[in-house]
């Protein structure tokens, strides 16, 4: 017989499941995780030879005191906001769109098609480019969403693989029929001035930021106060229950997926007509990953997506100068993003659990 004698009363840590955490505490937990991620990133950057003072200068002082840098951050943020919205609305329907890059490529192809073949009168050219971009992004989403809803094909695989098809089709166009006849480089002809998003008149800012803000307003309305957004919450939370209670889950999912494709397409238009003034071989790189990351960190909330996109954009711009002045590889910027994502993901654990001393 084992006697369980208890001469000393040890204190030990106990892990308990938490039923509920108030919103403000959740916000603090996420903010704290974010801070931890930043601290880890700072340590890594310092180890790779950038002093603390230099980091402060590059990431805070130079960015926020120079109008040129502020505008660079905002210009970069516009397409990031749009891809963030694209990922956010798809994730809200639990449709895991990993194919944002492919849809961005097709959006740019749609816009470039209008520009290259001079479709429509000049004053309608830009709106037509935007519409074609949205339509092509949606088109590129149509096959995965059809496969998902009709045949239960996993959309993670199908959207991901569609990226490769899109990329190779892009190369075909740029090395073939749409190659720039002027320079003979593998990129499209430069857009005419009325085919580019006009400058806003302050630094390098242009209308892509206005488009991004308008789309944020649209998504905020759609997700937060329209009936569709209310139904989407149920599809997100419990699709079986949603179906049983009379929500047409397939229709709601279809709309979210197509909207996601259209938004990515518009992002492709914003990059090509707002930043590059043409379609290049590499304009889309990184937007898929960034979009997913932004939507995740912002918990699919359209307003939070703006903040996170601005943060990611600041990282990218500061990362460019780190690259130039300190020979830090650009991969470091992606490393920082990844560290912060992991920290915020880990904070979920503390939201769901509580650790306490017990006797």
């Amino acid at each position: 017989m084992t006697d369980i004698a208890a001469p000393t009363r040890w204190k030990r840590l106990n892990l308990e499941i938490r039923d509920h955490m108030p919103f403000w505490q959740q916000s603090i937990a996420v903010a704290a995780a974010f801070a931890v991620g930043l601290i880890i990133s700072v340590v890594i950057l310092m180890i790779s030879g950038v002093g603390l003072a230099d980091l402060w200068n590059e990431f805070v002082v130079f960015i926020f005191t120079s109008p040129k840098n502020i505008s660079a951050v905002l210009v970069q943020a516009a397409p990031l906001i749009i891809v963030g919205l694209s990922a956010g609305i798809a994730f809200k329907a639990r449709f895991w769109n990993i194919g944002i890059e492919g849809q961005v490529i097709f959006g740019a192809i749609g816009a470039t098609l209008v520009a290259t073949y001079d479709i429509g009168p000049e004053f309608l050219r830009l709106p037509l480019m935007a519409i074609f971009a949205a339509a092509c992004g949606m088109l590129w989403m149509a096959l995965p969403v059809f496969l998902k809803l009709r045949l239960q094909v996993n959309e993670i695989i199908s959207t991901l693989l569609m990226n490769y098809i899109a990329f190779n089709f892009l190369l075909h166009l740029l090395y073939g029929p749409w190659q720039d006849p002027v320079s003979a480089f593998p990129h499209s002809e430069q857009f005419e001035s009325f085919e580019r998003l006009a400058p806003l008149g302050w630094q390098s800012l242009n209308y892509s930021l206005v488009i991004a803000i308008a789309l944020v307003a649209f998504c905020a309305w759609l997700l937060l106060s329209s009936r569709y957004g209310f139904l989407l919450n149920f599809v997100h939370s419990n699709a079986k229950m949603a179906r049983a209670v009379g929500i047409r889950v397939a229709l709601v999912t279809l709309f979210a997926a197509l909207a996601s494709g259209a938004l990515s397409g518009i992002a492709g238009f914003a990059i090509s007509a707002g930043i590059e003034s043409r379609m290049t071989q590499s304009f889309f790189i990184g937007f898929g990953f960034s979009g997913i990351l932004i939507a995740f960190l912002a918990r699919n909330n359209p307003l939070a997506i703006v903040l996170v996109a601005l943060f990611v954009s600041t990282l990218m711009i500061a990362g460019q100068s780190l690259q130039v002045f300190y020979q830090i590889p650009f991969a470091m910027v992606q490393l920082i993003q990844a560290i912060i994502v992991i920290c915020v993901a880990a904070s979920e654990f503390f939201i769901r659990h509580r650790i306490r001393w017990v006797e």
Binding site: M1, T2, D3, I4, A5, A6, D19, H20, W221, S225, S226, R227, Y228, G229, F230, L231, N233, F234, S237, N238, K240, M241, A242, R243, A244, V245, G246, I247, R248, V358, E359
Partner: protein, 520 residues
């Protein structure tokens, strides 16, 4: 027989002597509070060798809390525990295991892709994987045979039924060497037939010299399958009695502190047929034909009970009626709407067909969303709360407040509280509040009292009767024959995917039972 002395033979008197023998496990003066809430108030409980001891009480009476203390999951604030006369301190599940105390919880703790033998090995690691796997297999087979269990130990647990998974959990506890075995509401998730098999196995466990605590809120289980009954209410022990000394009404009074007795009360206003089901056939998504030939009418102002052993197509029938599962042939006719066989789920709801599903956490509530959202969803769908472009949150919330009050949903601290935090009975009341908000003409209720205590299930039954009395056609599917007999005006018996017999209330219970198990 082996010469190795079993620990159980220490008392050396062979079979259990229930009235005379000293308790082998005693808990005295156990007190446990959570914040301001006193879950256990000076509770005494004991367990004798070879007995099945039923611990009876409503949801929240403190039964599970008490057992969690002895299993080492909760630390008591005060009180002592003696095992075989020695004072012990149980600081964690491993202490409990060393004392040979094992508990099977309501929610199973199994790794789904692993087989039964791997799951059991996981909680008792040691030796090389292959070796211990084989040894474990033998060990399990031996224990299983002792109590008449058959489980395929090499299939992934995910592919086992709930009843089989439960057996794995019980075997896990036995392999760990437990001879104090605590089963927390073991029959709540089982069908009648499976429950009966389990209760037989529990008896065998006790006959082998183990002591079993059967935590339950089911009266007949306690009365027919235990040696002693301890009743708890509000964190205290009301009394410990022998089953032969007590009648069901007395036991009910002990459980709820007052008499709740439900009496059958037939419909006065049965009218025209509201829903007609004709030669219905349907297959599950995996192609298996489960509904073979279902015909029945439900009139306005009556409750049509569908009795039957679980798994005879009841779940699929609910899905077909609500439009979630397509028919292969046959027709559904709704009064004034005509043929609705091919109407979508949302259309049927707009025609006034409401449903209270048996698995409310999966099919009736979105646990992560608020009480208010869960209540309002049906109203949002029919346009009661704002237009497509704008949800009227204020209207939604005042309607929620009114419904929470009217349907007596307790435990709602705020409207934004997640629905998952409601207890079973209150969650069910919320579902009923929503489903009844549109004054439905047809109500389909599938096992509406599953997991509810006496008081909550009486409330649910009253809601069904009041729906009937205002003229709704109510279809009640239940494996609980008592529930069917109590509420139904007419009773159909479902067997192997068909309605095989129909009775008018008051019906002969024996005849219904016969139709339930017949094979033609």
């Amino acid at each position: 027989m082996t010469e190795i002395p079993d620990r159980n033979d220490a008392s050396a008197d062979g079979g259990p002597d229930l009235n005379g023998s000293d308790p082998v496990l005693t808990m005295s003066g156990i007190t446990k509070s959570f914040g301001d809430f006193l879950a256990l108030d000076n509770v005494d409980f004991d367990l004798k060798k070879g007995e099945v001891h039923a611990l009876l009480g409503e949801n929240g009476a403190g039964k599970s809390s008490l057992m969690n203390v002895v299993a080492g999951l909760y630390a008591a604030d005060h009180g002592t525990i003696h095992v075989s006369g020695q004072p012990v301190s149980i600081k964690g599940p491993s202490d409990a295991q060393d004392l040979r105390i094992g508990m099977v919880h309501q929610h199973y703790k199994l790794v789904m892709p692993f087989s039964a033998v791997e799951n059991i090995l996981l909680s008792h690691p040691g030796g090389s994987y292959e070796q211990s796997l084989n040894q474990m297999r033998e060990d399990i087979a031996q224990k299983a045979e002792l109590i008449g269990f058959d489980v395929d130990t090499d299939k992934p647990v995910a592919s086992l039924s709930i009843a089989e998974q439960q057996r794995v959990e019980i075997l896990k506890v036995l392999v760990a060497g437990a001879n104090f075995i605590i089963l927390d509401e073991p029959t709540a998730v089982l069908t009648d037939e499976e429950g009966q098999r389990l209760l037989n196995a529990i008896r065998k466990l006790a006959d082998n010299g183990n002591s079993v605590v059967l935590v339950t809120h089911n009266l007949s289980e306690a009365l027919n399958h235990s040696d002693r009954i301890t009743v708890m209410r509000g964190g205290r022990v009301v009394d410990t009695v022998l089953p032969k000394d007590v009648t069901p009404p007395e036991l009910t009074r002990m459980i709820v502190g007052e008499t709740i007795s439900e009496t059958p009360e037939l419909s006065k206003v049965a009218g025209v047929p509201q829903l007609k089901v004709r030669e219905l056939q349907a297959s599950r998504t995996d192609g298996l034909a489960v509904i073979k030939n279902v015909n029945f009418d439900v009139r306005r102002g009556e409750i049509y009970g569908i009795a039957g052993v679980g798994g005879n197509g009841q779940g699929e029938l609910v899905e077909v009626l609500t439009g979630l599962l397509p028919v292969t042939s046959g027709n559904l006719y709704l009064h004034e709407k005509g043929d609705i066989t091919h109407s979508r789920a949302d259309e049927r709801r707009s025609f006034g067909i409401a449903c209270i599903p048996s698995d409310r956490q999966t099919y009736a509530l979105a646990g992560g969303l608020s009480v208010s959202d869960n209540f309002a969803i049906s109203g949002v769908l029919n346009g009661s709360y704002g237009s497509w472009s704008r949800i009227d949150r204020r209207k939604m919330q005042s309607a929620t407040d009114a419904a929470v009050k009217k349907f007596d949903v307790q435990g709602v601290r705020s409207r934004t509280q997640r629905a998952a935090l409601l207890s079973g009975g209150n969650a069910q009341k919320l579902v009923i509040a929503r489903e009844f908000s549109g004054q439905p003409g047809v109500v389909i209720a599938h096992s509406p009292n599953r997991g509810l205590d006496v008081r909550a299930s009486a409330a649910v039954h009253n809601h069904l009767k009041s729906a009937r009395d205002r003229g709704a056609a109510v279809i009640l599917l239940s494996e609980d024959l008592d529930e069917i007999m109590l509420l139904s005006d007419r009773i159909g018996v479902m067997n192997s995917g068909a309605i095989v017999a129909e009775f008018d209330a008051p019906a002969d219970r024996h005849a219904i039972g016969k139709a339930m198990v017949g094979h033609d």
